[in-house]
């Protein structure tokens, strides 16, 4: 009879534009966006995020982005660190390899959403996951799509995951 520990799960939300989006989005997009959101999941005293280099981790707030703009309490999980790391490893080999990164379709927020659901069953707030479609529904977003599609974001300061030989 092991006691089941509950570990808190948090979502760190960063505005990559540092306020630029809030100011310029009415002009450039024709609609108001509050920010360009980058998110990461913090659990077991570590921050985990997905970028063009794959899944990375660092101490909470340890990327060059600095402290998050918002912290969302996602919930709590029984998943131990050991299991979680296993999980992340397989994710990093399959769904969330670095090459799979795409700013619109498969970005850091996709990852955070996936992990949040695994850990707690809950999704992250929709204003974050809706962002790509918000941008793409504007003429500006549509027109700049080829450029934006090729943008790769990788906040510096994290260590990459990876199992050298795929084992399952």
């Amino acid at each position: 009879m092991e006691p089941t520990n509950l570990y808190p799960v948090k979502l760190y939300v960063y505005d990559l534009s540092k306020g630029l989006a809030r100011r310029l989005s009415p002009i450039m997009l024709g609609k108001q966006l509050e920010g360009i959101w980058h998110t990461s999941i913090v659990v077991h005293k570590d921050e985990f995020f997905f970028g063009s280099g794959g899944i990375s981790s660092c101490p909470p707030g340890g990327t060059l982005l600095g402290p998050p703009d918002t912290v969302v309490e996602v919930g709590s999980t029984e998943v131990t660190e050991e299991i979680f790391l296993e999980y992340l490893s397989s994710l990093g080999e399959s769904l969330f390899r670095g090459e799979a990164y795409n700013l619109f379709e498969h970005n850091c927020n996709t990852f955070s959403n996936e992990v949040a659901q695994f850990l707690t069953g809950k999704k992250i707030p929709s204003y974050i996951t809706d962002l790509p479609s918000e941008v793409l529904s504007t003429p500006f977003g549509q027109a700049l799509r080829p450029l934006l599609d090729s943008i790769q974001i990788q906040p510096p300061g994290g260590n990459t995951f990876g199992r050298p030989n795929g084992q399952s």
């Binding site: 089941t4 990559l16 534009s17 540092k18 306020g19 630029l20 100011r23 002009i27 450039m28 024709g30 980058h38 063009s52 280099g53 794959g54 899944i55 990375s56 660092c58 101490p59 060059l64 982005l65 600095g66 919930g75 999980t77 029984e78 998943v79 131990t80 050991e82 299991i83 296993e86 490893s89 397989s90 994710l91 080999e93 769904l95 670095g98 090459e99 659901q117 695994f118 850990l119 707690t120 003429p139 027109a143 700049l144 080829p146 450029l147 090729s150 943008i151 974001i153 990788q154 906040p155 510096p156 300061g157 994290g158 260590n159 990459t160 995951f161 990876g162 199992r163 050298p164 084992q167």
Partner: protein, 460 residues
């Protein structure tokens, strides 16, 4: 416990739960077990299982292990963040039809090592910050540093950049005005000055940095042909539309700008997005540069300084028409005099009035400047550098009237038109009324030129 043998004999994939063969659950469950579909999701794959909801977790794991070809003890089932224990049933854990259960298959060798190896400086060239991971021992995977077409600003700016970025951003009001100005045909003229545009863009240090990273950017800027082509497109929205559909930079098509519907479609969006975005689509590198451009105070300043001249030129044609109306020119005169008064009485107000002053011309009329300076001894302290409040009152007005040329001549006899100049000439000592008039007519009201003319004629 219910029989388990029947379950493990079921071939892959598990399709049917034999409903009657599993005995009823522990007391307290009144409802008969129902069949549910459960989605089992791993990072790599997912499978749907159709089971009875009184299946125990351990039974479920058996089925799963068959399906996924691993041992039962490698399986970890997670539902709503809770690890499913063997002795529970799916029903007890609240797993209903259509729900998803997460599966982690533990590797045979135990948990993988914690990642290690910091990323190099990727986007901001500010140096890596070492992330302190736990266990070192990566096993050889290199951090990937792919940078395809990153935009240096505005994406991630760290703290030292933050303040700079904020101070660089023009206020929304101004940005809006700028957007409107960008649409005007005058700005199109500016854009047609490829040399200037190129200079503006190249001067920006971040552009230079971008060019170092992406040599093709440099090529684009160097190739004036491409630049001209691009800037041509900026002036012609219809051609842009065609360009979007054929992204491989073909020859510009003809005849499309006659299509009014097309033009309307293009201009129906926000004014900024109209032609500017077409330009950006055509040239993604230019898009990056434009984003830098908007964030740079130097470029913005240069733009601002150019603009008054251009605006002034643009407004000139309107002014000419307006001046044809004598009442309008009278009104203008009054404004002039009012401004004159202000400059002596309340010079501090002058900067607020510079928008109006721009329309009346600045240093575009050198001769008028000289003439105006004479009559402007009483002007107050000079304004700030860029506003150049050494404005020239009546002389400018005359100049404009002269430019209005044909209109005014039909409306007013030269005597009336040139009255102030005439008086000045007389004050200078030229008493020959007719000669003065002739000179003024010949020089179209330019006093100093008229003076020279008169002197020449006097000498001869």
């Amino acid at each position: 416990m219910p029989h388990t043998t029947s379950k493990s004999q079921v071939p892959v994939p598990v399709q049917m739960a034999q409903n009657g063969q599993t005995s009823r659950q522990p007391p307290g469950k009144d409802v008969s077990p129902s069949i549910i579909r459960v989605l089992v999701k791993t990072p790599n794959a997912q499978e749907e299982f159709v089971v009875s909801d009184d299946t125990t977790v351990s039974q479920f794991k058996e089925a799963i292990s068959t399906q996924f070809k691993c041992n039962v003890d490698q399986l970890v089932l997670v539902f709503v963040g809770r690890i499913l224990k063997d002795q529970d049933t799916l029903y007890q854990r609240g797993i209903l039809d259509g729900y998803t259960v997460h599966l982690v298959i533990k590797s045979k060798n135990g948990p993988p090592p914690q990642p290690s190896g910091p990323h190099g400086p990727l986007l901001m060239d500010l140096g890596p910050r070492e992330g302190i991971g736990k266990v070192v021992g990566n096993g050889g995977r290199q951090p990937i540093i792919p940078i395809r077409n990153t935009v240096p600003t505005p994406i991630p700016a760290s703290e030292p950049e933050k303040a700079k970025a904020q101070s660089q951003i023009p206020q929304p009001r101004t940005a809006e005005r700028m957007a409107q100005m960008l649409e005007s045909p005058v700005i199109q003229q500016l854009l047609s000055n490829t040399e200037l545009m190129r200079q503006l863009i190249m001067d920006h240090p971040e552009v230079q940095q971008l060019m170092k990273q992406n040599p093709e950017v440099g090529h684009i800027l160097d190739n004036s042909e491409i630049l001209r082509h691009t800037l041509d497109l900026a002036r012609n929205p219809a051609m842009m539309q065609e360009m979007i559909q054929r992204p491989d930079m073909p020859r510009p098509p003809e005849g499309f700008w006659d299509d009014p519907q097309l033009l309307e479609d293009l201009s129906s969006g926000t004014r900024f997005t109209g032609s500017m975005l077409q330009l950006l689509v055509q040239n993604p590198h230019l898009a990056a540069q434009m984003m830098l451009f908007m964030g740079s105070p130097q470029l913005y300043e240069q733009m601002r300084q150019q603009l008054p001249t251009i605006l002034q030129q643009m407004q000139l044609s309107d002014l000419l028409l307006a001046l044809a109306n004598p009442k309008a020119s009278q009104a203008l005169l009054q404004i002039e005099q009012g401004l004159q008064m202000l400059s002596t009485e309340a010079p501090a107000l002058l900067p607020w009035l510079t928008p109006y002053l721009w329309g009346l011309g600045r240093s575009g009329f050198p001769e008028a400047t000289a003439a105006g300076a004479q009559s402007k001894e009483a002007s107050g302290p000079q304004g700030r550098g860029k506003t150049d409040t050494r404005y020239q009152p009546l002389a400018i007005l005359q100049r404009l009237q002269a430019l209005a040329g044909g209109y005014s001549q039909q409306m007013q006899p030269p005597e009336v038109r040139f009255r102030p100049q005439m008086e000045r000439l007389r004050a200078m000592g030229f008493r020959n009324h007719n000669a003065n008039l002739q000179a003024l007519i010949a020089t179209e009201g330019d006093t100093s030129a008229a003076v020279r003319r008169l002197k020449r004629s006097q000498a001869s």
